[in-house]
Symmetry: C2
Subunit: 242 residues, 2 copies
DNA sequence: CGCACCCTTGATATCTTTCAAGTCAGGTGG
DNA sequence: CCACCTGACTTGAAAGATATCAAGGGTGCG
């Protein structure tokens, strides 16, 4: 049984721009399936197209690129509400891969119907462009942090961002949330070596700012974490839900 | 007198996806003006919206973000064919600033007509999403390079990319093109100090791979440059022209 | 028990930044 | 014409940050 878009639990979170019931109804006709996958499932592969596009309903994962020399760059962490496969949809092939870190539940759409979405519901087409712009914005911010900061700043920035994103979709309880990523994932996201990432996480733990171990992130002093990570404002901007 | 989109000189370059004459005609009705601006003109400002959206016809420039501590991250270099203001169009405000490095000529569109573009010509809406995806792709690649490479690789990567982009829009003649950027711009793009960028450029000059000085980039050995910069394939992918 | 995977820690090597000076060309006013 | 200034580029030496190498510890699991 598929979750009805009208009653999609994600719609209630204020991070997501309101969706009219006409839009929700239309999305429901666009949605072709709903699937559950285990951790470490590859959903999309760099260099390949995809018959299907997805929206994350539950669970977390990674977007990443593999470099010619075998290293890996994690581009972003996936949370509920994220739309997957936009590049495959418009460019024909993915420019990065997507994999799950926890079990994940996803809405499934058909790529071949994408153009008809633009035709039949232009507002949704607009929102899809918006989603792309949000991703671009995030990567720009990441580039600025990775390019110009020290390890402590980078790690703090990442933890603050992760914490805020988790909180926005109701994953935080009592200052803690389950984030089943590996230190390797964070290192690959920040362009740091695993060893140095580990030592920096240890510093934050000793400073009693945030501690991340055993799949759980606990933030003891968000204000300090945000300051160290040069993260400004608490207002999480709205973005559309596809 | 405005350049007619039908006869836009950029359409002849193979980097740009073909545009039907119906599309060109529609774009012509969407285009409201054409302007020329001097070097060092701020076209769009981070944090602000914009009444107008642009497409670069001639000239080069920069997209950049200012960081809280005063540093600057250059996100990308602008070339003819680039569309400016997508974020302002869909998110309401720019997430980075845009400035010119040379004199520049631009097509001008009206932001308030953007939604009607999605409504009246869904294919163009699709292309706009595509443009966003291309930008996302580029930033992902930049993140991977900046995050995980040594200075020589980063600089080689940037020069190879700049050279290819310039060549794709006919700016290269006899292995050289005019690129009126400063070393500071490159340093801010790559997250390197100005001093180290300078020394790395000197190395490439000594190696007789590429020399960039006095506004001119001369590439003597593109193959080596591409190898050093881990740039693969010469096939420049098509992207839509807006 | 042994193995695989992940996290942790110390010592050393490498790269990059910072600091400090110096060059060079163009522009300006006496 | 020259003195002076400014912006951009160049170079060397020392300080700082991060990577790499190496080894050990913990946990879950067949």
């Amino acid at each position: 049984m598929l979750t009805s878009c009208r009653f999609c639990p994600l719609r209630s979170y204020p991070v997501f721009a309101p969706m009219s019931s006409a839009e929700a109804d239309f999305m429901e006709s666009f949605k072709v399936d709903e699937i559950s996958v285990p951790p470490n499932t590859t959903l999309l592969t760099e260099g390949y197209g995809s018959e299907h596009l997805f929206t994350v309903l539950e669970g977390v994962g990674l977007r990443f690129k593999l470099l010619p020399d075998g290293r890996r760059q994690v581009l972003n962490f996936l949370f509920p509400g994220d739309f997957l496969g936009l590049q495959a949809g418009v460019m024909g092939e993915m420019k990065h891969s997507v994999t799950t870190s926890s079990a994940m539940r996803l809405c499934v759409f058909r790529r071949s119907q994408l153009m008809s979405l633009f035709r039949e519901f232009p507002e949704r087409g607009f929102d899809l462009t918006w989603v792309g712009a949000v991703e671009e914005h995030f990567l720009g911010e990441a580039l600025a942090q990775i390019g110009q900061s020290t390890a402590l700043t980078r790690v703090s920035w990442a933890l603050a961002k992760l914490y805020r994103r988790a909180r926005a979709v109701g994953m935080v309880e009592e200052g803690a949330c389950r984030l089943p990523f590996r230190q390797r994932d964070l290192a690959d996201a920040l362009g740091l070596s695993l060893v140095h990432t580990n030592k920096t996480l240890a510093r934050l733990r000793i400073l009693k700012v945030a501690s991340w171990s055993g799949d759980w992130l606990r933030v003891h002093d968000f204000e300090t974490l945000a300051r160290l990570g040069q993260v400004e404002g608490d207002l999480t901007e709205q973005r559309p839900l596809i």
